[in-house]
Structures are given as C-alpha cells and as structure tokens.
Amino acid sequence: MNRVAAVARAVVADAIRRRIVWVVVLFSLVLAAMIPMLPSYGVGVADAVYREIALAMTYVAAMVVTLVLSVSRIPVEVERRTLYSVLARDVRRWEYVLGTWLGITLTLAAVTAAFGGIIFAVGWAVYGAPMWMLWQGVLAIWMEAGIIAALCVAVSTITLPVIVAVAALAFLFIAHVRADLLGGPENPLWYAYPSLDAFNIIAPVSHGSGVSLLYLATMVLAFVGWVGALVFLGALGFSRRDL
C-alpha cells in the first residue's frame, strides 16, 4: 500500500496547487456567504432554505472540482509520458489507478470540508445555532463526488478527456432520474438501475432531522461498492493498455 499512498500523495500535492480548484472554491464560498442575503426567505423557514441552497452549491462546486481533477489526469499523464517513469518501477497498474483515485478523493475531502466549515460557520453566525446536520449532507456530497471521480478515472484509462467528461455528466444525469424513469421499487428494474439517489440527502438535512446512522452506514457501503467496482474496471482496462 506504500506505493498507492505515494501516488496519492503526489496527486494531492499536484491537485491542491491547481489555481482553477481554488478559484471554484473561493467563488462558491463567496456565494455561500451571500445566501442569507437572499430576499425570498419566509419567516421560520429561512434556516432550512439556507441549508438547502448551501448544500446545493456545495454539490455543484464539488462536482466541478471533481471533473477538473479527474477527467484529464490519466490521459495527460499518458500523453506527456509522466507515468512511464512511474510504471517502469515496481508499480502495478491497479496501484497507480487506485492511488490516482485516492489522491483525487482526498483532495475532494479537503475541498468539501472547507465548504462544510464555511457554510456551517455562516449558518451558525447568521441563525444563532449550529447546524450539525449540514455535515451529513457534506459527507454524502463527498461520497458522490468520490464515485464520480472513480468513474472518471476508470473511463479515462481507455479514452480521451472529452469523452470522459461527457460520460461523467451523462452518468450524473442518469443516476438521478431513476424515480422519473421507473416510478418506484415495484418496477423490476428498480434495483438494477445505476442510481446515486441514495446520496441525495439534501431534503432531509435541510427540512428534517437528517438521516439515521443506519442510513449513513448504508451510504458508506454503497460508496465502497461503487468505488470498488469502478476502480476495478479502470484497473482492468488500464492493465491491458499499451502506453
């Protein structure tokens, strides 16, 4: 695992120095800080609306950063031959793929944690009470971003960044329209459909009391399953590729 960690560390060192990541982060944070100034708040629901918009903004920003970091990472390293000197060592292709995903996902953890900290602090300052449930939403967003990063890394082992971006956006769309397409669990295709709806907990976090620990555990299991499958497929595709 040392080699996976070494690749991940290099990915993090590279990613956190990308200016575009911090531009997206700062822009989103400024917007988040301005949410309480929106004029359409109704009395008594203002904090719920704040939570909903703040999490939605966190989601969008996290997905943008995910795509920025993961769509071109491997194709560029192949094109520029950066990874020749890496893979010519005692490094298996799967270790490189896993390390790349891990590095991106750790960077995303830092980014979403920064978002979470700011929207939590703004919410506390403006509404006078800590909104602990926001962290559940942030965790779910980070896990979904990690899955999208795994998808991007997997697809990018065999194709070009543009196709990876299109595939990721298409998957994001498809993964959130299960209910619209299939109706409900009575549909036989319901459980076979590639859905990420389990990670969409903005509504219960914003307007309710969040989700249970059992639900969080289920979410973590789904995260591990998705990432495991996608990284496996990515490693499989990459292991068969001539560089």
């Binding site: 590279d14 020749y84 060592r89 068969r240």
Partner: protein, 312 residues
C-alpha cells in the same frame, strides 16, 4: 554470471493479426556493468523494445529478463528508467518528484530526503530542491529525469535519449555520469540518436532497423575496417611519394598533415617510403569508420551489410 538484460525473440504487433509489426524477433543481451547502446532510425523499434522490457507495452511474444529474473514489477524495483523527453507536473518540486519515485521504489522518506541533495548535485541541480518544475528549463527537466532514474541506486539504468534537450556541457556531464555509473558497476542500456556519444562510451551496440536487429557487437568489431590501417603523416612536400599514392585510399589533407589508409600488408613498405622521403609518421592505427558512416551506410544499403557482426 547472468546478463543484466536478456531479450529473446521479442515481438510486437499492433492491431491484431493483420496489424503493424513494430518489433520482430529482436534479441538483446546486455552484460552486467557494461554500457550498451541501442541504435536505430526513427520507427526502428527501439522505444517499443524498451517499453516491452519495462512493462509499458504488452509484448506479442518473446522472453524478457532483467538480472536473471523475468522482467516483472518485482525486479523492476532494481531498474531506473529515463523516458525520452521526460515530463513531470510543473506544480511539483524536484524534491517531490524524487520523493514520489523513491517511495515507489520502496525507499523510506528519510532515505529519499538524504539522497535527494546528493543526487541533484550529481546532475547539476544543487540547491534547486524546492523550486517548482514550472520554472525549470527543458535541460533542467532532463536532469531531474536522470535523477529520478537514479534515486533508488538501481543496478540497471535504461536511458532513452538522455542527452535530449541538453547543451554541449550538459551532454558531456551526462556522458561522464554514464561512465561513472558503469565504473560503479551499474549496467547502462542507452538508446540514443547521438552517435558520437554512443561511439564514445558504449562497450557494445545493437542496431535496430525496421523492427529487427540489423547489427550487433562491440563498437570496435563493427567499426574497424578489416585489412586496412589508417596512417597519419606530416611532411612539407606538396604531395605524398608516388609509391604511396598507388596504395592509399580515403585521403584527407589539412595543414601539412595527411591521413589515409593502406592495406595492412603494405604498412611496412609505406612507413619505409615515408621515412626515406623525410615524412614524420604521427600514428598508425587500424582503420576505423565513424559510427555515423557505418550507420548511414547500413540504412542506405542494408543488403550490402553482410560484414561481420551484421545480422541478416
């Protein structure tokens, strides 16, 4: 002792049964502690051969061994590789690049740190550990590439065009570095277009053309012209004695110094004639063509290269 690198019947076909054959039946043996040159024109199959050896390209066939073991990931921990025109993230520093490659080779962080300064000094980048690579010139990146290849003190170093992008002083430094590595017992496999560099430092060479081995052997065996001796003589006369003129070939004159070749059987007579006519003999050496001449002739007239060492 097993060779440092042994490749047998290497074969690579791209694009299925009717696809393009990049490498066909290539064999290569690199002895331990030697500097072995791998030469060939663009598209000859050099880089593909190296990539198959290092696991970057899946061979269609053949046997690849490093230090007596199948060339898998485990033994590659003992190999350093410099790709052609290496590129590293411009956002990283040289120290971070070396840390990554050192860690990938199983070194402890403290070990990498202690070796980083020494290694960067060795490649001429002393004190530049913390500088981001975005501020490095092309030649400096090449030096970082060489440093990463050497970070884990490998027993075998594979260098693909190590002098690419370097100025003449940098090229000399790299040449000296390769010779120093060989003196330390490290095996160097050098793929290069710099024929003068190869001729100067390689013990043996393998020449590829159209994906096949076109010639192999020691530099001397390949370049010495059998049966002829090169004579270098100095004199004040406007022309060489008539008896010598009838024997000589490949004549070059500059500032009263004549260089020409004669048959080995005529060396004694030539020396006597020149001596009798007041000429000073500066050197007598087996006639040797330049690697450039040999290489160019081989590529232009492959069918006539049936000399010793040339593989059909």
């Amino acid at each position: 002792m097993t060779p440092a690198i042994r490749i047998e019947r290497a074969h690579k076909r791209y694009g299925g049964a009717t696809g393009f054959v990049a490498v066909s039946d290539v064999a290569l043996t690199v002895n331990r502690g030697s500097i072995h040159g791998l030469l060939g024109p663009n598209g000859a199959g050099k880089t593909t051969t190296l990539k198959m050896l290092l696991g970057l390209v899946r061979p269609s066939g053949g046997t690849f061994e490093i230090l007596g073991e199948p060339a898998g990931p485990a033994v590659r921990a003992r190999v350093g590789f410099l790709p052609e025109q290496p590129y590293f993230s411009p956002l990283l520093t040289a120290a971070e690049v070396l840390m990554l490659h050192g860690r990938l080779s199983g070194m402890a962080p403290s070990e990498v740190e202690s070796r980083t300064g020494e290694l960067l000094a060795r490649v001429g980048l002393e004190g530049r550990e913390k500088t981001r690579l975005a501020k490095y010139s092309r030649g400096m990146l090449q030096r970082v590439g060489i440093a990463q290849a050497l970070i884990a003190a490998p027993e075998v170093v594979v260098l693909d065009e190590p002098a690419s992008g370097l100025d003449p002083v940098g090229q000399r430094d790299v040449r000296n570095l390769m010779m120093a590595l060989a003196e330390e017992g490290t095996t160097v496999l050098l793929s290069s277009h710099q024929l003068s560099e190869v001729e100067a430092i390689c013990d043996e060479v393998t020449i590829l053309n159209h994906g096949r081995v076109a010639a192999e052997g020691s530099i001397d065996d390949l370049l010495n012209v059998a049966g002829r001796t090169s004579v270098r003589a100095r004199g004040t006369a406007p022309a060489l004695p008539a008896e010598v003129q009838s024997l000589m070939e490949d004549v070059a004159v500059s500032g009263g110094v004549w260089v020409f070749s004669v048959p080995d059987s005529a060396v004694r007579a030539t020396v006597d004639i020149l001596d009798d006519n007041g000429w000073a003999i500066e050197s007598l050496v087996p006639k040797r063509q330049s690697l450039e001449d040999y290489f160019g002739r081989m590529l232009e007239e492959p069918s006539r290269m049936a000399d010793a060492g040339v593989v059909s």
